[in-house]
């Protein structure tokens, strides 16, 4: 049952996002670009940090192996 609710909720979010994309694409292209762009900037900055941790761990392993 919980899965069903989750799926329905996600489906609703998807529908809302699509609606937003269609409406915003017509009337508010720049606002829409801001939404997408800001999300992207935050995600890229965050993934940069995650990559940093991976690089850091790799460096530690190399040091341990030496």
């Amino acid at each position: 049952m919980r899965h069903v609710i989750k799926m329905v909720a996600l489906g609703l979010i998807l529908a809302f996002a699509l609606l937003l994309a269609v409406v915003a694409g017509d009337y508010a292209p720049w606002y829409f670009a801001w939404l997408v762009g800001t999300t992207m900037i935050v995600l890229i900055a965050a993934s940069g940090a995650v990559l940093f941790e991976t690089q850091d761990a790799a460096r530690d392993r190399r040091r341990d192996n030496l």
Binding site: A28, W30, Y31, T38, V42, A45, G48, R59
Partner: protein, 537 residues
């Protein structure tokens, strides 16, 4: 009679308080999303160093935020205290986005900022993260509504003038909110804030790296800020281009001033002027260095559209001024008598009313009725010249803004590149460049404000209401009183702000370099006594 000194002092006060407010706003807009990104990593990876990062940069955010809020109070009330005619004339449409801003955005931002600072122990990790995102979203939504209001001043859509209430009346919410000018301006301003925030974090991290302090902390902050900034700095230039195009479409006087175009040149040969000293009285550029065939495609995105120069813009304004004088005269007659004939006369010329109000300043005794046939050409000439903003200020503010805009892309690109290769400390020149760049985005944002608002002159609402008639009917004494007070108070604030910023930036995050603390896991392991909430001990 409108006292020109009072108008100039009111303009000075508004410009100073707005520019001062805008010293702090961009950092809030950008840093809030950087904090959210850092905390996102904390929640995903669970590494306490990211919580330290969020808290430390959050502390600097708070120092900046307080003064931004404080000086924002001035802005909300200054329209009423100093621009009564403006407030009366457009309050019905301009006040609405300000009210919605308070209700929708500022309440959210301000309520959650308290939880962001003080709710670490009382909220679960995801809940606190959501709070941080709400602060970031709230501050940017706040900017959105303010810039919707500003968009109306630049390109008045969604309202019509009503001769019965003597003001612009709101007719179309959708047109106001989705105005092209408002949209592009919001995104440009918000992203400029992202650049400011990113360079702030990157620069201070560079300072630590140069001094070999807090290296784990600084390298991570640098990485995130550099990636955040490299995309933001690219986007801000793109949006700048969009805004330039908007000016070409709706504010040709601003565009002509920005590019120093005195005369219309046939496309596509119109040159782009890279350097010049525009001389408004001689109506030409001194010592100009020009690149032909660049401007037309740059601005119009085509090869065969002419960009009107200042001379033809003035020529185009003249019939509007003549009509505007008729409209304003008829409107005044209608206001007194409610005479339908006067109303019909007004309706004929109403779209040029603003130009008539503008001509008031150059009429004998500022009274349009006293313009004789002999006076008319002189009044029209002077009014037409007044439709052009100060070209020198516009030309150079724009060039400084754009040059730094491109320079930031370079700083972020190098920063991101060396950070991704983990070679930051081998390139101290890069770190120094980042550190010394910290104040530059703030400065560039100020220039952006000047380009937008000086370029809008002589109008407070473009084409409808001249700045000259917008001010309150104060005496000079009132203005001196408030100007001196603002100057004193704001100087003290900036001194305190800079003192605290430097103090806390120098003290640093106090993060213990020893790995043991990082692995202790239960909250910030902070070295300096008394710095942190030490509940984990």
């Amino acid at each position: 009679m409108i006292n020109p000194t009072v108008v100039e002092l009111s303009r000075l006060q508004f410009a100073l308080t707005a520019l001062y407010h805008f010293l702090f706003v961009p950092l809030t807009l950008g840093l809030s999303f950087i904090l959210a990104a850092m905390e996102t990593v904390y929640v995903i990876t669970g590494k306490p160093i990211y919580k330290d990062m969020t808290q430390f940069w959050g502390k600097l955010f708070g120092i900046n935020f307080a003064i931004g809020v404080a000086t924002g109070l001035t802005m909300e009330f200054e329209f009423g205290t100093n621009w009564s005619m403006y407030s009366h004339f457009v309050g019905d449409v301009f006040g609405t986005p300000l009210a919605i801003e308070g209700l929708m955005a500022f309440f959210m931002e301000s309520t959650f900022v308290g939880l962001m600072f003080f709710g670490w122990d009382r909220l679960s990790k995801p809940a606190h993260l959501a709070v941080t995102y709400l602060v970031a979203l709230g501050s940017n939504l706040s900017a959105l509504w303010i810039l919707v209001a500003n968009g109306f001043m630049q390109d008045p859509v969604g309202a019509t003038f009503d001769p019965n209430t003597m003001r612009m009346q709101f007719t179309d919410l959708g047109a106001l909110v989705f105005s092209q000018d408002a949209q592009a301006k919001f995104v440009h301003t918000s992203i400029a804030g992202f650049v400011t925030g990113a360079l702030f974090v990157m620069g201070i991290s560079a300072y630590y790296l140069l001094r070999r302090q807090h290296r784990d902390f600084a390298a991570r902050s640098f990485r995130m800020a550099a990636l955040f900034g490299v995309i933001a700095s690219l986007a801000v230039v793109t949006l700048g281009d969009a805004l330039g195009r908007m000016d070409y479409l709706v504010q040709r006087t601003k565009l002509a001033a920005i590019e120093g175009i005195w005369h219309t040149t046939t496309p596509p040969a119109a040159p782009w002027t890279i350097f010049a000293l525009p001389d408004q009285s001689a109506r030409k550029n001194i010592a100009a260095i020009e690149i032909p065939y660049v401007l037309t495609p740059l601005v119009t995105h085509s090869w065969n559209t002419a960009i009107p120069g200042i001379d033809s813009l003035e020529r185009e304004a003249k019939p509007k001024i003549v009509n505007g004088i008729q409209a304003a005269t008829a409107l005044k007659a209608y206001a007194g008598t409610k005479n339908p004939a006067a109303l019909a006369e007004f309706r004929k010329y109403q779209s040029d009313l603003g130009y008539g109000l503008l001509a008031q300043r150059y009429a004998p005794d500022q009274d349009l009725a006293k313009i004789t046939k002999a006076d008319l050409p002189g009044v029209v000439d002077r009014t037409a010249q007044a439709t052009i903003p100060n070209v020198f200020v516009e030309f150079w503010s724009f060039r400084i803004m754009v040059a730094f805009g491109f320079a930031f892309i370079a700083v972020f690109a190098f920063g991101a590149y060396y950070s991704l290769k983990n070679e930051l400390e081998e390139h101290p020149w890069m770190l120094k460049a980042a550190m010394w760049s910290i104040p530059l985005p703030v400065l560039v944002c100020e220039y952006g404000w000047i380009v937008a608002e000086n370029g809008r002159q002589p109008w407070s609402v473009y084409g409808w209401l001249p700045t000259f008639v917008s001010a309150s009917t104060h005496g000079v004494g009132y203005m001196v009183f408030s100007l001196v007070g603002f100057a004193l108070l704001y100087s003290l604030f900036i001194a305190a702000e800079l003192y605290l910023m430097f103090k806390y930036a120098r003290l640093g995050p106090g993060f213990r370099e020893a790995p043991a603390a990082a692995q202790a896991g239960a909250g910030p392991g902070l070295g300096r006594p008394g710095y942190a909430n030490k509940s984990w001990e």
